[in-house]
């Protein structure tokens, strides 16, 4: 079983983003997706901290200390980009103006629930950031993550065991093993398998029933 590495996962997501979409990318693998959307396919990246039209990371000698993304990394602004304040930024999110948000996750459930912010209800000080706003507000929520935890635990599950970020929000999951759609009333449907991965293998690595078609 080969599967995708992290870069290939990011590239696989990037393939599916059409020109003209407003897209918010979470921290981690989601951030890497931007590297695989060619600049001539105009996808407009949104950042919670008040940016539309984010561009790639700057050359080390051209870093602008005033310009960071939601992960606090130096970025650039494309021609046509704009800045605005946090309430306007989240008006875009909450108001349903963002076509797509891609987040990482601890778990995604067959009913579209996502858990990505806290590992226990007793977590001493969980950091939620903008994840709940994005989960509830974006038109579509996709997840990109490793198919299992490092010690083989399930992240594709029937029901989330960790505290939810947003119920019923995820419509697609990209992992190192393949691409799953989350279909209402049905659950996970395998849309695509990573190179060298069989259905049986991806099913075996999942804590929920996977469907074909």
């Amino acid at each position: 079983m080969t599967g995708f590495d992290r870069k290939q996962m990011a590239a696989r997501v990037a393939e599916d983003i059409p020109e003209g979409w407003f897209v918010n990318l979470g921290i981690g693998i989601p951030t890497m997706i931007a590297n695989y959307v060619p600049l001539e396919r105009e996808v407009i990246l949104h950042s919670e901290n008040g940016i539309l039209g984010m561009g790639p990371a700057p050359a080390p000698d051209r870093v602008d200390p005033w310009l960071v993304n939601a992960g606090k990394q130096a970025v650039t602004l494309r021609p046509g980009g704009s800045y605005f304040h946090h309430a306007d930024s989240f008006a875009m999110i909450r108001g349903g103006h963002i076509d797509l948000c891609v987040l990482g996750a601890f778990e995604v459930a067959a009913n579209g629930d996502i858990a990505n912010w806290a590992t226990s209800e007793n977590d001493s000080a969980p950091a939620v950031g903008g994840a709940m706003d994005l989960g509830a507000g974006a038109k579509r929520l996709w997840v990109v993550m490793e198919h299992t935890t490092k010690d083989g635990g399930h992240k594709i599950v029937e029901r989330c065991t960790y505290p939810l970020t947003t119920p019923g929000a995820v419509s697609r999951v990209y992992t190192n093993l393949g691409v799953l759609d989350v279909v209402k009333g049905k659950g996970f449907v395998v849309r695509d398998l990573a190179p060298g991965v069989t259905f049986d293998q991806i099913q075996a690595a999942s804590g929920a029933k996977l469907h074909t078609n």
Binding site: E19, G20, F22, E40, E42, I44, H46, L52, G53, L77, R78, P79, G80, G81, S82, Y83, F84, A87, F90, A91, M92, I93, R94, G95, G96, H97, I98, G137
Partner: protein, 226 residues
Amino acid sequence: MINKIVQSMADAMAGIKDGSTVLIGGFGAVGQPDHLIEGLIEQGATGLTCVANNAGTGRVGLARLMELGRVRKIICSFPRSAGSVVFEELYRQGKIELEIVPQGTMAERMRAAGAGVPAFFTATSVGTILANGKEQRDFNGRTYVMEHALKGDVALVEAWEGDRWGNLTYRSSGRNFNPVMAMAADLTIAQVMHIRELGELVPENVHTPGIFVQRVLRIDRGPAWA
């Protein structure tokens, strides 16, 4: 390449359906998308609910749209401007429905629609007949009414500059309701005085980011406004 700039009024108006809620920017003549209103008259959609600060003046623009029987209902704060003759006639004859909304509540209801807030509380209108039938509630010893988001199918706005990503700037007091309405509608159509190249607008000073705008049409309003 994203290109929201349309070349004709017909393209600008394409797909506006009968029964739509249409938000119309402007405060008096300033910031009012005159040409787009003419375009809507031409386009033919009827049974409209129009949201605008005023109920039209004279027999042109919004007043003309009403006179043609195309407006089922108007939501506004100030229907009785000097010269709102058409509205007054239709209203007296029971041919148009009216919802009076305090000006700030009207702006905030649209901002709420754009920001994904279905309802909010305000002290405006508490203790008046405009609060009749509305839910009231006390917070910290003061009474507030609950107001609902006011969403548009279409917004017609006027701006000073626009680019192909739909970014807009406004000039002076021409801004007024326009940015709020642009946020609140599914289809926002902007008439602009100037088309700018992508990147010409200063990113800090884009007043309406292109995410809120679907179509941009250049209009020559004439030398008085240039």
